[in-house]
């Protein structure tokens, strides 16, 4: 017995070492990337990766499927764009306002949604985010179909000119890393443990005396706020905020990214977002219908590939050889 | 008794709920027209045996033959057509169906079934309450309805899971009478029952189950001699 414990302990250590090494390679890659690839494309990937990670905090680690996360992502994009363009606030304050706005919306939508579970939760979040979509469609604040165009990126902290692509890229990268770290911290905190116990067995969590509703709502707000961070960032990157980001199709897309990459894993959503954004970028040059491909990937994932890329990898022999612990 | 033909034969039946292995090689035999009771403490696999024979529990190995037909590789909805009716412990009366709709629900599988008139004769209170909601009936009435609806279908054999559970003594007595009537009509019955006294009045033979296997089988004539050991095994 002792021997086995030791070997699994060393294996875990080596797994951690491999993971750290991978993380280092990834970081170096992200630092070099803008000199090789289009910064705007990379920034788009990072924004969606952060968005999917925020979404996964809810689906993967709390077990709640929100079908309305576009409201937070696209809503924050509007808030940030409006604050920067109309009020002339600096970019960091604009993003902060976006985050606060998204968190507030998360509080409201979450308040209603957590009254029901499972499939109803999904439908309620979907319906309420659709309500927000209609609000955006009609309101003057969003400029309707046109959206908020020509949003200035401004100067970060007053002296870093974000209109320079590289400056903007490293700012986005920094926010991305901070965001992912926040997700990681939340997941591995005692709070995250309770969220997972809610996911595993809600009734048991209730009988253990946890105020499950409060935990769910907190997770919902945190997820909304992080989705807002991604949305606000995206508004600065592309310098506009439009209706596209608040549609239910967008809510579906982030589900797909997470599902494809691997629900309940840290790297899954990042990988999934990278894949989907790259694919969409490629498809948009071919004239092939993006939604059809997206739908087909969705169907394939649901029918055959529910663990996602990272989940399949963790369950594979290669992962066992490299010493990764397969989760659960 | 022994000259009767075997109707149901179970050999080496293993069954699993998810990962937990419940039945470890159950062997039993029921002959035509017999009433056989499976005795045993809670959690020993009695209900699981019935559910596996019926095919509700799909994770199973071994051999089940009924009336010359192999039941192992048929889908669930073919078991009833082979001639077995199952009355579950929770009775399974449908709330969204009236009493009569509940009664008429199971399809007829052979011509030997009772007519609705005959059933209402046997269960007069069901006739009275034919249009009320199924679950508005009392527990005893629900049990009778659950049995009655299988009688209409013309199945050769009934699997009854604890028909007397939670019922008042006079209702238990009434159910005993009904089972006697069915026996006289030639119905084969496999019963799971905790109520030992009830079972001893109507059964021809007994099996005792312990930890997922059948440990003993004996005729009702041997019952008095075995009372002491049975009390020990069953903890009654």
């Amino acid at each position: 017995m002792t021997e086995i414990t030791i070997s699994s302990e060393t294996r875990r250590q080596s797994a951690n070492r491999i993971q750290l090494a991978l993380l280092a390679v990834l970081m170096i890659g992200l630092l070099i990337a803008p000199f090789v690839l289009y910064p705007v494309f990379l920034m788009k990937v990072l924004c969606f990766a952060l968005f999917a990670s925020a979404f996964n905090l809810l689906l993967g680690f709390t077990g709640l499927l929100s079908f309305g996360h576009a409201a937070f992502f696209g809503g924050a994009a509007y808030f940030t764009a409006h604050a920067v363009k109309e009020w002339g606030v600096p970019p960091e304050a604009g993003i902060l306002l976006g985050v606060v706005g998204a968190a507030f919306m998360g509080l409201i939508i979450g308040f209603f949604a957590i009254r029901r579970q499972g499939i109803y939760f999904a439908m309620i979040t979907l319906a309420l985010s659709q309500m927000f979509f209609f609000f955006c469609l009609q309101s003057n604040f969003t400029k309707g179909e046109d959206g908020l165009q020509g949003v200035p990126r401004g100067h970060l902290l007053g002296f870093i000119d974000l209109s320079q692509p590289l400056n903007m890229y490293f700012f986005v990268l920094l926010v991305f890393v901070v965001g992912i770290f926040a997700v990681w911290r939340i997941v591995h905190s005692p709070f995250g443990m309770i969220l997972r116990s809610i996911r595993e067995n809600e009734n048991r969590a209730i009988s253990l005396g946890y105020s499950v509703s409060l935990y769910k709502l907190s997770a919902f707000v945190m997820s909304a706020a992080l989705a807002g961070l991604a949305g606000g960032l995206k508004a600065l990157v592309f310098q506009f905020a439009t209706l596209t980001d608040v549609t239910w199709q967008m809510s579906g897309e982030v589900i797909l990214m997470t599902l494809l990459g691997g629900i309940g894993t840290i790297f899954g959503p990042i990988l999934g977002a990278t894949f989907i954004v790259t694919l969409q970028n490629y498809l948009s040059t071919t004239g092939f219908p993006v939604t059809v491909i997206t739908g087909i990937i969705f169907i394939i994932c649901v029918l055959l590939f529910r663990r996602g890329i990272v989940g399949e990898f963790n369950a594979s022999r290669l992962a066992a050889k490299l010493g990764f612990r397969s989760k659960n | 008794m022994t000259d009767r033909q075997s109707l149901l034969s179970v050999r080496g039946l293993n069954a699993w709920y998810d990962e937990s292995h419940i039945l470890h090689g159950v062997d039993l035999e029921v002959r035509e027209g017999e009433t056989v009771t499976i005795l045993g403490r809670n959690g020993m696999g009695k209900t699981t045996t019935l559910r596996s024979i019926m095919g509700i529990l799909r994770k199973r190995t071994g051999a089940i033959d009924f009336d010359g037909k192999d039941l192992m590789n048929r889908p669930l909805h073919h078991t009833a057509r082979a001639g077995i009716g199952f009355v579950p412990e929770e009775r399974g009366i449908f709330a969204t169906l009236s009493v009569e709709e509940n009664l008429m629900l199971p399809p007829i599988v052979s011509k030997n079934g009772m007519s609705v008139d005959e059933i209402y004769e046997l269960f007069p209170n069901l006739k009275e309450r034919r249009s009320s909601q199924g679950t508005k009936l009392s527990g005893g009435e629900q049990q009778m309805l659950a049995m009655a609806r299988m009688l209409r279908t013309g199945v050769k054999m009934l699997l009854l899971d604890e028909p007397t559970e939670g019922l008042a003594p006079v209702i238990v007595q009434r159910i005993g009478e009904i089972l006697q009537t069915l026996k006289q009509r030639g119905m084969t019955i496999l019963l799971v029952e905790q109520n030992f006294r009830f079972a001893s009045k109507i059964s021809d033979r007994f099996y005792v189950m312990d930890h997922g296997v059948v440990t003993e089988g004996f005729d009702v004539a041997e019952l008095p001699a075995r009372m002491d050991t049975l009390h020990e095994v069953l903890g009654v």
Binding site: L65, F112, R115, R116, G118, I119, Y120, A122, M123, I124, L126, A127, L128, Q130, M131, F134, L137, Q138, W248, Q249, G252, I255, L259, P289, V290, T291, V292, T294, G295, I296, I297, F298, I299, C301, V302, L303, R306 | M54, G55, I56, P75, L76, H77, T79, A80, R81, G85, F86, G92, F94, A95, T96, L97, E101, M104, L105, P106, P107, V109, T153
Partner: protein, 295 residues
């Protein structure tokens, strides 16, 4: 001019009629969703796409081989229903043993494929579908002008809804469906082919959506995205009604359609969102829905 609550009565009744028409479609669609959900425990996200398919199949039948409206009312639902049966048989049924959310995600992907595919082939602009001659024109009721086709839609949808309700509440097949909704395993142990019943139910539900689609074709234009926002409104209606009851789905559909119409009279800005607001209120007051049995 006669006024009601400070609004000309013509305008009031006109919006009421529009509300009733929308309500007719809401009722038919939420009815189909409720039937599918009841038995399959699948929220059919593709319902809006299948509604669109009904309209499109009708449109294509007319323009390719001249099949008229009346025949299309029969043929389009059958064709779309068959696609539903194929989908259930080869894909959907593999998800029944999993979390119900996978059914929602699968049908979501399906909706994307169907809507995206039609848009790719036919573009996103609408195609007109002529009102059948016998139903064109209108009658002056004295207090308002009633286009005959719209009157027909209201009557026909009522017939469809009541017919479906009777099918489920009063027939043997309906008894099977109700019983299988409660306890599919037991019903199957009675010797009823429940897997086949599930296939049939999905086919029936999608056929209902297609029927609503072909009925909608002469009113709204036939376009690939005609069902895409509609389906979410219908979701909200289903949450309001609670998915336990067929009659609940029908009544809530009409009720909210009319309410939406009235909102257009009194506070047009809110007409798009009034159903969602009502959903939120119902969630606060009665989380299981107005007619819901489950919590």
């Amino acid at each position: 001019m006669m006024m009601i609550f400070g609004i000309p009565i013509q305008a009031f009744l006109g919006q009421l009629l529009i509300g009733l028409i929308n309500g007719s479609f809401y009722a038919m669609l939420s009815l189909g969703l409720a039937i599918i959900f009841g038995l399959l425990r699948v929220i059919n996200f593709a319902h809006g796409a299948q509604y669109m398919m009904g309209a499109f199949v009708g449109f294509l039948l007319l323009s390719w081989i001249g099949i008229n409206y009346w025949l299309a009312l029969l043929v389009a639902p059958v064709i779309v229903g068959i696609t539903g049966i194929v989908i259930e048989r080869f894909a959907l049924r593999r998800l029944y043993n999993l979390d119900h959310l996978y059914g929602l995600l699968f049908t979501f992907g399906l909706a994307l494929v169907i809507e995206g595919g039609f848009r790719y082939v036919y573009g996103s602009s609408g195609q007109p579908y002529a009102t059948p001659d016998i139903l064109s024109g209108g009658v002056n009721l004295g207090f308002m002008y009633l286009p005959i086709y719209r009157g027909w839609v209201v009557v026909a949808s009522l017939i469809v809804c009541i017919g479906t309700w009777l099918l489920i509440e009063k027939t043997k097949l309906g008894a099977y469906l109700r019983a299988a909704t409660e306890n599919p395993t037991l019903v199957q142990s009675f010797g009823i082919n429940v897997p086949f019943l599930l296939t049939l139910t999905y086919g029936l539900g999608t056929a209902l959506a297609a029927l609503a689609g072909i009925m909608a074709a002469p009113i709204y234009q036939v376009s690939p995205l005609m069902g895409s926002n509609l389906v979410i409104v219908v979701f909200a209606i289903v949450v309001v009604g609670g998915m336990g009851s067929i009659m609940g789905a029908i009544v809530t559909g009409y009720m909210l359609g009319i309410l939406e119409g009235l909102t257009k009279v009194f506070y047009p800005e809110a007409s798009n969102i009034v159903i969602f607001v009502i959903m939120a209120i119902v969630l606060l007051v009665r989380p299981a829905g107005l007619f819901g049995r489950d919590v």
